[in-house]
């Protein structure tokens, strides 16, 4: 019998491509033979923009990369700039940063779980995920006045200290969240249909996964015990007790379970951070405008100047963002603007593995595997 291969164009406007990604699928009936990924529909030239802005002005643009979890973006960029300039950060600021990072990790995984289940056809999880996410967003709004685009972490500290009533509300959130994760597990993890859909789907060996540049939770589902928080400790992570969540099955279900474990682990970290939060100034409430207009920072512990010139040099600094390894390569030429900013976005590199992963699977499996890779198109296209 003569059969023809069917070319299916999935996206850029499609319910389950998490934005404007486009798959060009060569299908043999329901089986995917070849998967080409076309992207760039959300390309905003962030790297070029970075060359036009001062170091401080670029911070709001990093919010727009991975808009689900913007604190890690803020922090990765700020960490690169701080390493470049050799800035000391007060301890309280570091603790507040870790607090926001871990809170944001929970938010990110909630959205990921919700959209994964929505892609599989279960509409309940996304609403429950967004219910808890809303509580976290309330905390963010309380902290920095914005719900998704924070612009909170600044070179030399954070924008403002914790507001009054923040810690009790956070404790409430942690307590609430613990019960809710049990709900999620009861709804999803044991569900036979979910297991049928996820087990042995999107399998790629650990070696291949590394070779394809997968990082973060997606890689930890492949049995690679690797967490930048552990192997290249930054901020106050060395002082905190946590573990890298690893699963060995190499399939979509393992990648999903890593997310659930990480949420628990993040709650654990949050509890420690709340207990260990030191007194002191995170940064001052002082206004940036009265700072020296140029020159290296003098008293960073109190404020960070609006305009500042790090010494010429280049730095590659990376952190463990919720989606994987987020790195900023910042080159300074000694002026007030960075000479070059290169963003190593986790979504972009994790996405590389998809064509290999889905070969020989079906469209529903593509969606399941793609959901567990957890990409955000703002991060892919930059």
């Amino acid at each position: 019998m003569r059969t023809e291969e069917l070319l299916i164009n999935m996206g850029p406007v499609h319910p389950s491509t998490h934005g404007v990604l486009r798959f060009k699928l060569t299908m043999d009936g329901e089986i995917i033979r070849k998967c080409d990924i076309v992207m760039g529909y959300l390309h905003r030239g962030t790297e070029k923009l970075g060359e036009m802005k001062t170091y401080l002005q670029f911070v709001p643009y990093t919010d727009r990369l991975d808009y689900i979890s913007a604190f890690p973006n803020n922090y990765a960029y700020v960490k690169a700039v701080e390493e470049l300039a050799g800035v000391e950060v007060p301890l309280r600021a570091e603790y507040i940063r870790v607090l926001t990072l871990e809170l944001n990790r929970i938010v990110n995984h909630l959205v990921m779980l919700g959209s994964l289940l929505l892609d599989l056809g279960g509409s309940t999880m996304i609403m429950w995920g967004f219910r808890e996410r809303e509580n976290a967003l309330q905390l963010f709004e309380m902290l920095c006045g914005a719900r998704m685009t924070f612009n909170y972490i600044r070179p030399g500290g954070v924008r403002e200290d914790l507001p009054e009533g923040f810690i009790p509300k956070l404790n409430e959130f942690i307590k609430d969240m613990e019960n809710r994760i049990v709900d999620y597990e009861e709804l999803i993890s044991g569900n036979e249909i979910f297991i049928m859909r996820m087990k042995n789907i999107g399998v790629i060996s650990a070696k291949d996964a590394i070779n394809y540049g997968m990082t973060g939770p997606s890689l930890r589902g492949h049995g690679v015990n690797y967490d930048i928080r552990k192997i290249e400790p930054y901020s106050v992570y060395p002082d905190l007790d946590f573990r890298a969540c690893v699963r060995n099955e190499c399939d979509s279900f393992a990648r999903y379970m890593v997310r659930i474990d990480e949420m628990r682990e993040s709650l654990h970290i949050l509890r420690q951070v709340v207990d260990a939060m030191p007194e002191g100034k995170p940064t001052s409430q002082a206004k940036y405008g009265i700072a020296p207009m140029t020159g290296a920072p003098t008293a960073v512990s109190t404020y960070f100047p609006r305009i500042f010139t790090p010494p010429p040099g280049e730095v590659y600094s990376r952190i463990e963002a919720p989606k994987g390894e987020l790195g900023f390569y910042v080159v300074s030429d000694g002026t007030i603007k960075p000479y070059r900013i290169k963003i190593r976005s986790p979504s972009f590199c994790n996405l590389t593995a998809i064509p290999k992963m889905v070969e020989g699977l079906m469209i529903p499996d593509l969606i399941a595997a793609f959901g567990t890779i957890d990409v955000v198109l703002g991060d892919v296209d930059r």
Binding site: K207, D208, N211, G213, Y316, G327, R340, R344, C349, L351
Partner: protein, 166 residues
Amino acid sequence: MNPAEEIKQLFPGSVVSTGLQTNKPLATIKKEDLLIIAEKVKEMGFDNLSLITGIDYRDRFEIIYNFFSYAKKQNLVLKVILDHDKPEVDSLESHWKVADWLERETYDLVGIKFRGHPNLKRILLPDGWVGHPLRKDYDMGVDQFVTLGEDGEDIVSTDGSNLLRR
């Protein structure tokens, strides 16, 4: 042992200099020997190619590879300096699959060509885009309009005449 020094010992002729990039060992190498050194780097256990950065320094291009080894928990930075007139370098796609897209991105935005890359097309920008935006001499004054063609391909024009309505 510092992997950069190790590479220098193995390939004394091809390493221009070694040093540190903040705290990561850095080796600047000749562009002709990139493939051989990359093979060695892969053998040394650097299984993760973290980032490829192309930088336009007006007189030269620099391309920087950030490696990481999951086994040894070590970093390594390789730097290759290219001519500004003819920015071409060998592709590492055969060793690290992630280099496929990273190199396409570098080609797209900086305009460095990678020899031996199987599919060196633009990745973020539409196919007909004029210029490479992250070059310092990129003309930002020219507006470019992108529309969809009959078969879904991108059509780029500079006057906007292909837009349905202005």
